[in-house]
């Protein structure tokens, strides 16, 4: 036996005698993971988070989260002698006087943008494939939590340098707090330690940003991954894949290499962006003062939809009995986001209420086979995109020579008219695709080859689909194939009738092609 083998054996023995690790390692090293590119989206989230932790820790070694006033004397000469907070000063120091400091700042910020983009892309994948269905509802809830806290974490993170742009965002956040009826002015004074801007806010959000929220993320991500591990990952339908198995590659060595390799790829791409793409150049904005602002102020993209809603809100306030209620802030800033995120969180339960489906699902849906869900998803995305567009209405106006007035009215009206149109179009597209699938299975693939029949007729040769393809296109369970989707008792009363209506609307499908259909068509049919 080689020395290395002896050492490895001795180490393994040492650990196993104290932990019993051999048993669960044996089980888990052979765990099977299905392979599909769309499963890598969640991985991007995880790896971005790790990159954020590492680069963030680096930054904390130099960042001073204090708002005490200092005078700048670092290498960035245009700001020489300017009064600023220690937070802004230390960020300038990191950017210009710490080797690799600007690189780390930029990798950190890009990683945050990628983190949020990947969460949204992963959310779309999970939603459109129905991966949130039983038994994965808990993971969906954790995911929505991660999305929500991610938005907050990003906002707090880019506000730490106390520059003019992010300070404006903090001012807006303070105004939302202040607008809350009865307790608003108290909450604002408690959060900021007195009047705005005060000197307490940056140090307080620092602790939330580097300790409380990362701790929460670690806990939530751990549970999220443990659930995926224990429940096993979902898989796309195909030959050999059933609700009762997982087809893929084992953790060791394949998945370890692929997933581990992917981490380094994500790191590499993020590092590249940090190296060549300037992001958040705070030295151009100057330190925060409430008396100044720059034109074209925008939040980071994941808050753009919120800004868009606030911009398009009608100027509604109630002035009564010596009090003021700002509906123009509360509705777009609190109520609508509250409804959106609550709706998202509850969606798995709403869908199972409509369909009456209480079965476990481990095979994913092809989005076309769930037309209502897919249409609802596209409708929601359209709503968010229109809000997001309005969040940049000043930039859009200057670049495309439009008026802000026109964009605002377009988005105000479009917010309510375009999403339903998107729903109808998407549903029709899904049903068309189902029809196309059926035709493909029954008539085969068009080959473009023309053949003349003895009768003189010209026909195109259609190649029949392989058995694997036929299976993939017809394996899905359709709502009307279920014995009794909703028990009769569930359809009584106003609520029951509403539920039955939704259930029937959801059951709109093109029937999947069957072997019987194919046989009925007979041979020689083109």
């Amino acid at each position: 036996m080689k020395t290395s083998q002896k050492v490895a054996g001795a180490t393994a023995n040492y650990v196993d005698e104290r932990t019993g690790a051999a048993k669960w390692l044996k089980k888990n090293l052979t765990k099977v993971f299905p392979d599909h590119w769309s499963f890598m989206l969640g991985e991007i989230c995880l790896y971005s988070f790790v990159i954020l932790l590492m680069t963030g820790t680096f930054l904390t070694f130099w960042f001073d989260p204090s708002q005490r006033e200092v005078i700048y004397h670092g290498s960035y000469l245009p700001l020489s002698g300017v009064h600023m907070s220690a937070a802004y000063d230390s960020t300038l120091h990191l950017s210009f006087d710490v080797r690799g400091g600007l690189l780390m700042r930029q990798i950190h910020h890009w990683a945050a943008l990628i983190f949020m983009s990947a969460i949204v892309a992963h959310l779309f994948r999970v939603f459109f494939t129905g991966a949130f269905r039983k038994p994965r509802e808990f993971n969906w809830l954790i995911g929505i939590g991660l999305l929500t806290f991610g938005i907050v974490e990003g906002f707090l993170g880019y506000s730490l340098p106390d520059d003019l742009l992010s300070g404006t965002g903090i001012r807006i956040a303070e105004a939302i707090l202040q607008a809350i009826p009865v307790v608003g002015s108290y909450l604002a004074f408690f959060a900021f330690g007195g009047p705005f801007p005060g000197t307490a806010f940056i140090p307080r959000i620092f602790i939330v940003h580097v300790l409380l929220l990362p701790g929460l993320f670690l806990a939530l991500i751990t549970i999220h991954l443990m659930l995926v591990w224990y429940q096993k990952h979902t898989q796309y339908p195909g030959p050999g894949r059933t609700e009762k198995n997982v087809v893929g590659y084992p953790l060791m060595p394949v998945y370890m290499a692929k997933a581990g390799g992917f981490f380094f790829i994500v790191f590499g791409i993020t590092a590249f962006l940090g190296a060549v793409a300037s992001i958040n150049p705070i030295w151009l904005y100057g330190p925060y003062t409430p008396g100044q602002i720059s034109a074209g102020s925008q939040p980071d993209w994941y808050m753009g939809w919120l800004d868009g809603l606030v911009r398009m809100a009608p100027p509604l306030e109630t002035h009564a009995f010596g009090h003021t209620i700002s509906w123009n802030i509360l509705i777009p800033g609190l109520f609508i986001p509250g409804i959106i995120f609550t709706g998202m969180a509850l969606y798995p339960f709403i869908e199972s209420w409509i369909t009456g489906d209480k079965r476990e699902h481990h095979l994913l849906d092809r989005p076309r086979n769930a037309p209502n869900r897919t249409a609802l998803g596209v409708m929601s995305i359209t709503f968010m995109l229109i809000s997001l567009a309005n969040g940049g209405n000043d930039i859009i106006a200057t670049h495309f020579h439009l008026t802000i007035n026109a964009i605002m009215w377009f988005t105000r009206i479009g917010l309510f008219t375009v999403p339903p149109i998107a729903f109808v179009i998407t549903k029709r597209v899904c049903l068309s695709l189902q029809r196309a699938d059926r035709d493909l299975v029954l008539h085969g693939k068009e080959t473009g080859r023309l053949v003349m029949l003895p009768t003189g007729e010209m026909v195109e040769v259609h190649e029949p689909l392989s058995d694997a393809k036929k299976w993939t296109l017809t394996q899905h369970q359709q709502p009307d194939a279920l014995p009794a989707p909703l028990p009769a008792s569930a359809t009584v009363g106003l609520k029951g009738k509403f539920r039955a209506r939704l259930n029937r609307a959801n059951a709109t499908q093109i029937p999947a092609a069957t072997l019987t259909d194919l046989k009925e068509l007979g041979d020689g049919h083109h």
Partner: protein, 335 residues
């Protein structure tokens, strides 16, 4: 719809035949794949060397002009490219290794039922019942009630301890540093201003002169910032009272947006509109900063100004309304 029981559905043909990769059957292809992986890992090592060399030997104040990127710090760029290569190529190497050389036969594993066995569930229920009864909570309502009281109260202390996170707002929102006779000082110069210093069409930011020895803080600025705008007096469309708050065509408004507190810094000289860059609330200067567009619900409060005996612009009186965004206690019946 045909009768379901007689409809034959397509069957699952099972996993497809495994197709071997080149490297699985051809040792030359395998060697080539191995070389590719090795080169990728070596490129990563080169990247790390580049990072270390840049850190130690490249001057941190050297800049180079690059297309698209503009003036770029050489050391930062090289550190970044080095780090990119160091990490990216490990990943590419690992993926190439897995794809070309590691076994790619699909493996099947069975899923397990999550639901516990009935006997386990019944045992759990029984255990819970038995040990629950052993606590005696069911019989001993005094314990139950006082436990509830103790646990309910213990959460209050941490909340109360947060009281000192900030003072009570009191009358803070109602007042600024503007009072009768307060001189207007140009920001950032800090000098007093005469009417003749402002041309028609000009706009200036002013702050109040604070009592001697008082330091100006950001909190002061956040309440006191005022915009001074000069128009032709005939351009105004104001009632008599508001007109009396202007001086020879010079009008003063709070710069803090009544929507969400941003500085209303954009002035459109031709249209006499003030535009807030945050949410595009637009205020008409000729009509006492009336809101003509955007989500702001109230006009910018107007500061009444005049000149003192030395000819410097001063405030006639404090703001008659709280400036800035709304809050519950604000009496907004007058704007």
């Amino acid at each position: 719809m045909s009768d379901h029981s007689q409809v034959e559905r397509f069957q699952d043909p099972g996993l497809p035949e495994h197709v071997h990769r080149n490297a699985d059957v051809d040792p030359i292809a395998a060697k080539r794949a191995e070389r590719q992986v090795a080169i990728l890992f070596l490129l990563s090592a080169v990247g790390t060397v580049l990072t270390i060399v840049s850190y130690v030997f490249v001057k941190s104040d050297k800049y180079i002009y690059l297309p698209v990127m503009g003036s770029t710090n050489v050391q930062q760029l090289l550190l970044g490219i080095g780090l990119t290569a160091a990490t990216l190529f490990i990943g590419l190497g690992a993926i190439q290794w897995a794809k070309k050389l590691m076994p790619d036969q699909e493996v099947i594993a069975e899923r397990h039922e999550f639901r516990s066995e009935d006997v386990d569930r019944d045992d759990l229920v029984a255990t819970f019942k038995e040990r629950g009864e052993a606590t005696g909570l069911g019989r001993r309502s005094l314990i139950k009630r006082t436990l509830g009281l103790a646990l309910g109260l213990v959460g209050l202390s941490p909340l109360i301890l947060l009281r000192d996170t900030g003072p009570l707002p009191g009358k803070y929102f109602d007042t600024t540093d503007w009072a009768a006779g307060t001189r207007l000082l140009l920001d950032p110069a800090g000098t007093p201003i005469k009417a003749s210093d402002l041309e028609v069409g000009a706009v200036a930011q002013v702050l109040p002169e604070l009592p001697a020895g008082t330091e100006r803080t950001l909190e002061n600025t956040g309440k006191d910032a005022v915009l001074l705008i000069r128009l032709h007096p005939e351009d105004f469309n104001l009632d008599a009272q508001r007109l009396s708050w202007t001086y020879q065509g010079i009008i003063a408004f709070s710069k803090i947006c009544t929507h969400m507190g941003c500085a209303v810094a954009l002035y459109e000289q031709q249209t006499h509109h003030l535009l807030c860059p945050c949410h595009q609330s637009t205020f008409d200067v000729t009509r006492a900063a009336k809101v003509i567009f955007g989500p702001a619900a109230r006009p910018l409060p107007q500061l009444a100004i005049t000149v003192n005996s030395d000819g410097y612009l001063v405030a006639q009186q404090p703001f008659t309304l709280p400036i800035g965004p709304s809050f519950w206690e604000r009496n907004s019946s007058n704007g």
